[in-house]
């Protein structure tokens, strides 16, 4: 029995050492080179190298774990995009429930912080499109503030036309790119 334990420990140790030896190094590809792939909603953001063994224990709880409402596909909080008309920052009726739900979440979680990323379609000046995307993000923020979110909980930024969701050159694509995306801090 004792011998078995020792065997087990050495196997675990070997595994840990192997894990240490293969820690991903892709973040060292040079100061200015970034991983462009956008983390899908609900997934963790930038992977942080963790010190020590990748083992964690959790106490058994009686009631089932409550699902994170931000990640629950059945929850409106998992909806993160607000779409806009051409040259407009008006929040259309169909997106008001989404904005309202996130505003309420921020109100109920004063420590929660989010970023609203405004986007524009490809037509026209890149810098003007940064400003248009910013205006859309600000419109979403403004509505959330009116509904009880605090100003410092929401940073609004703009990607202009630089990060299109759809890369075609027609309205069916453009309408997907006139958009505000909600991302919570830590996501």
């Amino acid at each position: 029995m004792k011998r078995l334990s020792i065997h087990l420990i050495s196997i675990v140790l070997a595994g840990m050492l192997a894990a240490c030896g293969t820690t991903p190094t892709k973040e060292q590809e040079g100061a200015s080179v970034e991983d462009r792939t956008k983390a899908p909603a609900g997934e963790a953001g930038a992977p942080k190298p963790r010190p020590g063994p990748r083992v964690a224990t959790k106490p058994l709880v009686d009631k089932p774990l409550a699902a994170n409402p931000l990640k629950d596909p059945g929850n409106i909080l998992s909806k993160r995009s607000v779409y806009f008309d051409y040259d407009s920052d008006l929040i259309k009726d169909e997106f008001k429930p989404v904005v309202t739900a996130h505003a309420k979440y921020l109100q109920q979680h004063p420590n929660a912080k989010m970023r609203i990323e405004g986007n524009a379609d490809e037509r026209g000046s890149r810098e003007y499109n940064i400003a248009l995307g910013q205006r859309r993000a600000n419109a979403v923020r403004q509505m959330m503030q009116l509904l009880g979110a605090q100003a410092l909980q929401i940073e609004t930024v703009s990607f202009g036309e630089e990060k299109p969701k759809c890369t075609g050159h027609e309205e069916s694509c453009w309408s997907q790119n006139r958009r505000g995306d909600i991302a919570y801090q830590g996501e």
Partner: protein
Amino acid sequence: MSGVSWPVVRTGLNKEFVGSNFDKFLGLHRFFRAALVLALLALSPAASAVLTIEIVGTGATQFPIAVVPFRAEGGLPQSLTSVISADLARSGVFKLVDAGGLNPPPHEPQDVNYDTWRARAAEAVVIGTVAPRPDGRHDVRFRLMDVAKQEQLAGFAYTASGAQLRHTAHRIADAIYEKLTGDKGVFSTRITYVVKRGARYELQVADADGFGAQTVLASGEPIISPAWSPDGTRIAYVSFEMPQKKPVVYIQSLTTGGRRPVANFWGSNSAPAWSPDGRKLAVVLTKDGGSQIYLMNADGSGVTRLTQSSAIDTEPSFSPDGELLLFTSDRGGSPQIYGMPAKGGEARRLTFEGSYNVSPRFNPDGKSFTFIQRNGSRFNVAVQDLTTRQVQVLTEGAVDESPSFAPNGRMILYATEVGGRGILSAVSSDGRVKQRLTADSGDVREPAWGPLPK
């Protein structure tokens, strides 16, 4: 400035001169591949061509000039006269006259047989010599001879290492251009632009003819709005890189490669524009709400708000004397160009034709500005006179963007799209001469023409 090498990745971009357009001269109109010029430029290195220049259109009057291969330049790693000829032809202002078939070809003033050149209808002849120096460099001399007056118009001597020969050739072309047109030549200037290949963005700096391109910044996130410092040693730009992953304004030194964020405030930071003395930067920040124009020192300190509107105010551009600021604003309901004192004050609307006028940049002479005007669904480069307010649309592409003047005010560099790919184009400020710079792969966009070398 010659022979400089910037830090960061070096890419082997080369230019292939594929054609010139002598349409006026030959009575043809588009894309005529001038065999004459090709023969003349046979010495031009064309291997691994990545940026290609194509001339579309030509000046109203073209000055006929002959460029005789310099004595002993055959032994050089780089032909000088092929570069000079390419520069002059590319400007659209000159018509290259055949300089071949003379035995011996003239290299000194006393060798020039003016009857020969008159017979070939050349009004000026460029001659010169190259001689090795004990230190391994080369003495380059050139003379510009007036055929009618049979006298020397200009003559200069240069000392150049092998790596500096292209630059020396551009300087010679500049001297010829200035002597014959009265305007400064811009052949020895540089341009910057962004190349997007897949998910990779590269900020590159190249000679004005597309040669010697070097990547000064590579990123997996967008880079936009590069702006040259007035002395040409630094570039301000907007990068979306980690960890902020949002628009932040950086300034990067081309001599050291060192860089730092100068505007990284809450919200978005973009549209950097240098003051003519290089000490200040106008930027667009959203830290107080919407996109507004702020002034800051070039080190990022001393931020003051310049515009006070609830509308979009963006794309600032300083007048050459630093007194005035042009910018884009939709305070009147549609994006239009406005002007205001650079110290702050009341803004005045300048554009009235059309419902979308954006991206203003001053002409270095301070008398006009270039901008993008939407006509129907097309976006084109236009120029407006500041006094008469007369507008001239210079291009007819579908999606022309980001115009900037050459430092002599004669050409405007801009981004456009051909066959779904981003390329750079240049158009003369009278709209007659047009050039295209095409990369072998990737989208090229966001060009900015650098200043005259000091």
